[in-house]
Symmetry: C2
Subunit: 627 residues, 2 copies
C-alpha cells in the first residue's frame, strides 16, 4: 500500500513536516496549501526537497467552493484554478483535491455541477493534472460520496475523478460498501481518518478531533476492505485535523501516524483473508509477525539513585531479597511470581521511579520484531556475553518494555544472573514460606496528555492489549483520566493515567507518581504483617469509612478492621475488592490488592481518596486521622 499523509497533521514548518514524514517511512505527502504559503521556500525548492527525501508529492489542496455557482463567479474560480494548476506544475504535483462547495454554491443541480467540473477538467488537461472531487460531510448540496460519484460520472472527463475520505463517509453513516461499485480508475485519491464517538456538530468534530486509524471509533478495516475490493491501488493518505497533533513534536506524530497505517494494513489483510479467501487484489498490504497476547508480567523495574527506600517498602510488604546482579548494582526482590528489580545504576540524586516492565510472551524474537516493524524504537542492548539477551522496545512515555520468554513454572531465566541473597547487604529478615503476595496484578503508568492516544495505539498494536472503557476521576488538581489496557485473561493489566496539567497551585513540576500493584491471597494478613514491619501506609480519612457504612451494609467489625489498617473497599455485582497503598518514594509507590469473587475492576470509586491523600502528602500537610 502506498502510504501518504497530509502536512496539516503535523506541527512545524513545511520543511520540518516533510523531513518527519520521510523519517517515519511514508512514501509521500499531500501538501495543504497554507503550509506552502507561509514557507520561505519556493515551489521548486519544495519539489527538490521532496525528491531528496524520497517523498512523492501526492496531492495539493489549494481551494474550495468551485462548482454550482453562477457565471461571473465561475469565471473567477476558473482563473483561480489556472493559477493553482501552474503552481502544481512547478511543484510537480499531479492531483488536486476539490471539496464539494460549502460556501458559494447557489445551484442545486447535478447537471450544472457536472458541467462545471467538465470545464475544470478541460483546463486541468492543459496542465496535465487531475482533479479529485470529494463530498464534504457538510457540503451544501453534495455531502454523500455516492452523490459526488454521480456528478463525476456525469462530468465524464478523464481529468475528473473522486476522492474518498473515511471521515466524511463514516461520520455521516454512509455505507462504505458502495465504494466497491466505483471504477478503480475513477478513485483518484483516498484519505483516511479515524475519530472518537462524539455527539458534536460534524464540522467541529472534523476540524479538531480526528485521530489516526485505530485511535478512534470508526470501522476503518471494513472501509479499507471495500477499497481494496474496488481495485484501487493509489496512495492511502492520512488527513487528520487534530489540535494536539498540531502542537506536538512532528517527528513522533509522524511515527504514530505510520504505525497506525501499518497496523491497519495488517488488520485489513486479516479481514480479507477471512472473508475473501485467496482472492488477489491490486493493492498489496503489509503483514507483520503475528503474536499471541502476553500471558503475564515477568518483572517490574524501579530505577533509583539510592535503592534503600524502595527495598525497605518491598521488605515490609513481605518480599524476599533474591540477590544482587553479579556485575551491576541491581537488586532482585521476589514474592511468588512477582519480581521487582531495583536498578541502582543511576546518578546518586535520582528519585526512584518505574523504568521498565517485562512481559511474558510466547516468542520474544517475533514479538520484538513485530514491535519494531510497527516503528517502536528498540532499547539498546546492555547485556554482556554471559547474560540473557533480552528483547526490549521503548513505549511512547520512554518506559522500557521487555519481551521475555514465558515459562511453564513462572520462573525467569535471567534470574540466574542474580547472586545468592546472602552476598548482599540488604534487609533479609525471615519471610513466610508461602508468601501472601503472589504476583503483579497491574502496573499504573502516567502518560503525558499529548501522547495518550499514541500510547493506547502502541500497546494495542504492538502487544495486543485491549483498551477497556476509560474513566475520569476527580482529584484536587483536576480530573484524572484512566485507561486500562489488558489481555483477555487479565494476566497483563496496564492502567494508563493522564494527569491534568498542573498549572499553578500544584507541586512544583513534580511528576505524577506511578505504581505497581501486587495480588495478595489475604490482604488483611498482608497489611497486618506490613504494619508490624513498620510500613507507612497511605492514610485514609475517617469520612471515607462513614460513607462506606452508608453505601454498603458491612459488618461493623470488618469495617473497623478496614479503618484500622487504612484498607479501601469496593464491591460490584461480581465480587469485592480490598486494597491499600504505601506511601510514595520519589515517583513510585506500591499497592496491594485482593480480588474476591469475579471482581475485575480497580477500585475506581476509591481513586479520589488516594489522589487527595497523595496531594496532601506531596504538600507536606498532615493527614489528620481523627478530630
Amino acid at each position: 500500500m502506498r502510504t501518504s499523509i497530509a502536512t496539516v497533521c503535523l506541527s512545524g514548518t513545511l520543511e520540518e513536516k516533510m523531513r518527519a514524514c520521510a523519517d517515519a517511512g511514508f512514501d509521500g505527502v499531500e501538501i495543504f496549501e497554507p503550509d506552502l504559503l507561509v514557507s520561505p521556500s519556493s515551489p521548486e525548492q519544495i519539489r527538490a526537497l521532496a525528491e531528496s527525501l524520497g517523498l512523492t508529492l501526492d496531492l495539493y489542496q489549494p481551494f474550495r467552493d468551485f462548482e454550482g455557482v453562477d457565471g461571473p463567479l465561475l469565471d473567477a474560480n476558473l482563473e483561480r484554478a489556472r493559477a493553482k494548476f501552474e503552481l502544481m506544475n512547478r511543484l510537480g504535483i499531479g492531483t488536486m483535491l476539490l471539496c464539494s462547495n460549502v460556501g458559494t454554491a447557489t445551484i442545486d443541480d447535478d447537471a450544472v455541477a457536472a458541467e462545471h467540473l467538465r470545464l475544470l477538467g478541460g483546463l486541468a488537461a492543459g496542465y496535465g493534472v487531475k482533479v479529485a472531487y470529494e463530498a464534504l460531510a457538510w457540503g451544501r448540496y453534495v455531502n454523500d460520496f455516492e452523490h459526488a460519484q454521480r456528478i463525476v460520472d456525469l462530468a465524464d472527463h478523464p481529468q475528473i475523478g473522486t476522492c474518498l475520505d473515511s471521515f466524511h463517509i463514516l461520520s455521516r453513516g454512509w455505507d462504505p460498501a458502495a465504494i466497491e461499485k466505483i471504477p478503480a480508475e475513477k478513485i483518484f485519491f483516498v484519505q483516511l481518518a479515524d475519530a472518537p464517538e462524539l455527539s458534536l456538530d460534524v464540522l467541529s468534530w472534523s476540524r479538531h478531533y480526528r485521530v489516526f486509524p485505530g485511535e478512534g471509533a470508526f470501522d476503518l478495516v471494513r472501509f479499507m476492505a471495500h477499497l481494496v475490493r474496488s481495485g484501487y491501488d493509489g496512495p492511502v493518505s492520512l488527513e487528520i485535523f487534530n489540535d494536539v497533533f498540531r502542537q506536538t513534536a512532528e517527528d513522533r506524530t509522524a511515527v504514530d501516524a505510520m504505525r497506525s497505517l501499518i497496523w491497519l494494513e495488517e488488520r485489513t489483510a486479516s479481514y480479507l483473508g477471512q472473508h475473501d479467501g485467496g482472492t488477489q487484489y491490486p493493492m498489496s498490504l503489509a503483514t507483520l509477525p503475528g503474536v499471541a497476547e502476553p500471558t503475564g508480567f515477568n518483572f517490574a523495574e524501579v530505577k533509583a539513585g539510592n535503592p534503600d527506600a524502595v527495598s525497605e517498602l518491598l521488605y515490609q510488604l513481605g518480599f524476599t531479597f533474591a540477590g544482587r546482579h553479579r556485575s551491576k548494582p541491581v537488586q532482585l526482590w521476589t514474592s511468588g511470581t512477582a519480581r521487582v528489580i531495583i536498578n541502582g545504576q543511576q546518578a546518586g540524586g535520582m528519585e526512584p521511579g518505574i523504568s521498565a516492565l517485562g512481559l511474558d510472551v510466547q516468542d520474544p524474537l517475533a514479538a520484538a520484531s513485530r514491535a519494531v516493524q510497527l516503528r517502536a524504537s528498540p532499547v539498546p542492548r546492555r547485556s554482556q556475553a554471559d547474560e540473557q539477551v533480552l528483547q526490549a522496545v521503548f513505549a511512547p512515555d520512554s518506559t522500557e518494555v521487555f519481551l521475555c520468554e514465558a515459562t511453564a513454572d513462572g520462573t525467569a531465566a535471567w534470574a540466574d544472573e542474580f547472586g545468592p541473597a546472602e552476598t548482599g547487604g540488604a534487609q533479609t529478615g525471615g519471610q513466610p514460606a508461602q508468601p501472601l503476595i503472589s504476583a503483579i496484578d497491574h502496573i499504573n503508568l502516567s502518560q503525558p496528555w499529548q501522547h495518550f492516544d499514541e500510547a493506547v495505539l502502541f500497546y494495542e498494536s504492538t502487544l495486543s492489549l485491549t483498551p477497556i472503557a476509560s474513566q475520569e476521576v476527580p482529584s484536587p488538581m483536576g480530573l484524572v483520566r484512566s485507561q486500562v489496557m489488558r489481555s483477555a485473561d487479565g494476566g497483563v493489566r496496564l492502567a494508563l493515567n493522564i494527569a491534568p496539567l498542573i498549572v499553578e497551585s500544584g507541586p512544583g513540576g513534580a511528576e505524577y507518581p506511578q505504581h505497581v500493584a501486587f495480588t495478595s491471597t489475604d490482604l488483611i494478613a498482608t497489611a497486618r504483617s506490613a504494619a508490624e514491619r513498620g510500613l507507612r501506609f497511605l492514610p485514609v480519612p475517617a469520612n471515607y469509612y462513614e460513607d462506606l457504612a452508608a453505601r454498603f451494609r458491612l459488618d461493623p467489625e470488618f469495617l473497623a478492621e478496614l479503618q484500622e489498617l487504612n484498607l479501601l473497599y469496593d464491591r460490584d455485582g461480581d465480587g469485592a475488592f480490598l486494597h491499600f497503598y504505601t506511601g510514595t518514594v520519589g515517583n513510585v509507590f506500591f499497592e496491594v490488592v485482593e480480588r474476591r469473587g469475579g471482581y475485575e475492576g480497580y477500585g475506581a470509586p476509591n481513586a479520589p481518596v488516594r489522589l487527595a491523600s497523595q496531594y496532601l502528602a506531596s504538600r507536606g500537610e498532615p493527614n489528620r486521622k481523627d478530630g
Copy 2:
C-alpha cells in the same frame, strides 16, 4: 443577594477551597460530598472552619437516585438518607440537594415520586433539615423544572421544596418565566451556571464545559429577573463543573466567580429597572458605579532592562522622542496621539515586553472604583508628590490597566512630567511635521489558556468592552485562538490571543510576543520611510504574494510594491487593509496598519504568515526571500 458557590468549582482540598471562597467575598458554600469524603477533617472541624471564615454552609450534595424505585430499594435509600441527615446535623447544614433520578427509577408516576419525597420529608423533619428537589436535564422521567415542581406540590410536605439550576433549565430550552409561578417559600435553593453554545450531548456539556455567568451564552439576566420576581431571597450559588477551573489556582478562580455574580447582579438590577419600574422585591441586588465605554488608548508601556532596541524601532517608525521622565529612567515617544512609554526601571537583563496600557475614560475615579468593586486588584500607587495620581488595576494576565482622563484635544496630562527631549540622549533625528502614524489602533495581548474566560469577563465587566466572535489561526506550533474585545466606536480594540501550549518542539519556554498596532494615514509612505531608517521588517514569503494575486485582482505594480516592502493585504466587502510587522525585540513587536474604507478586521487571513515567519525567526532560521 446572598452569594454562594459549590466546592466542586475549585481545585485543591476542601479547606483550601473554603478559604479561597471566603477571601473572594462569598457569603457561603455548598459542599460537594466527594470533597468531604477525601478530607482528613471531621465534619465538626469543617463546621468550625466555616464559622471562623464567616461562611455559611448552604447545601450538601450527598446522593442521587432516590425516588421512583421499588420497595426494597426505597428502604435502602431511606437508610442512606438517614446517615446523610445525621452527617448534615454534624456539619450544621440545613438543606440537602436531591437530583431527579437518572439511574435506578423504574416507576414513571408522579404520584409515586411524590409519595417517596413525602417519606423523605418525614425523615428529614426529624433532623430539622430540608430537601431541595432538582430536575436534571437528563433525568430519566423528570427533566423539566415545572415537572419537578408539580411533584413537589403533590408531595406537599414542608421539608420538601425545589432547587432551580440555570444549566438544567436553559440547556433544555425551558422558559424560565415559569419560575415566577413557583411560591418563593418553595424555592429552597438556586444554582447558577452559564455555558457556551455547544452542540454536545447535554451530559458532557454539563459535566465539563459550564462556565461562570457572563462567560457563556445563556441569558442569565432574564433568568435572574424571573427569580427576583418570584420573591425568592435565598442564596444564589454557582455550581460550575469545568475541567479548567478544577486544575487552576483556587484563589483566582474564586475571584473570577465572585466577579461574575456581582456583574450579574448589576445587569439584573438594570434589567428590572427598565422593565418593572420601581417595583420592590425581597432580594436586594448589588449596584456598581456605571461607567461609559473608554474612548481611546492613552498610552502603551513597554518595560525593558535596556530600552535601546525598542526606542530604535519607534524612531524607525517615525515616532518623536518626547522626553525623559523627570525622576525615573522612563522615556516617552509619540506620534500623533500614539504614546509609547519605555520603562527602564528594570533589572538589566529583562527582555522588553508590554507591561501596561492606558485607556481614556470619562471619570477615572469612578472607573477604578467599579473595577475594584468587581474584585480587580489595584496597582499600588507609585506616584510622587508632584505627579499625576493615576488609577490602575491589574488585568488577569498582570498587565496594568491605567484609567486616564480623556481630554478633548487628545493630550495626556501626565505628559508634563516628561522633560524636554533635548535633555535625553536618545535618537532624535528630524521627524515629519505631520506624522504618518496618528494613533494606537489596537493592542494584542497573549493570555494563558487557563485564564482566557476570566480575561474576557474582566474586560467586559470592568471596562465595558464587547467581545467579537473569536477566530482560530493555524501556526507552526498549533492553533492560536484570537478574541477581539472592543468599544462600540472602535476607539479601543484589544486582541486577546491564547497561544497553544508549546510542549516539546517550540522555543524553550519563551513567552509568546505581544504587540502594539499603530494607525497610519499612508502605510506605504510609512514603510518606505521606515525602510530608509533601517527598520528590520518581518519578512513575508514570496508564495504569499503569488496567492494574493490569485485571490484578488490587484494591479501588478501595487502587488510588486507590497512585496518589495513586506506589506500584507486583505480586503472584504467593506474596504481594504494594509499592514506590516517589525521584527520582535524580546517579547514585543509593532505593527502598522492602514484601514481603507470601512474595513473593521485585523487581517486574520494573514495571521498564519506572521506566525510562521516569527516561528522561523525565533528558531534563528533564515527567511529565504527567493529561490
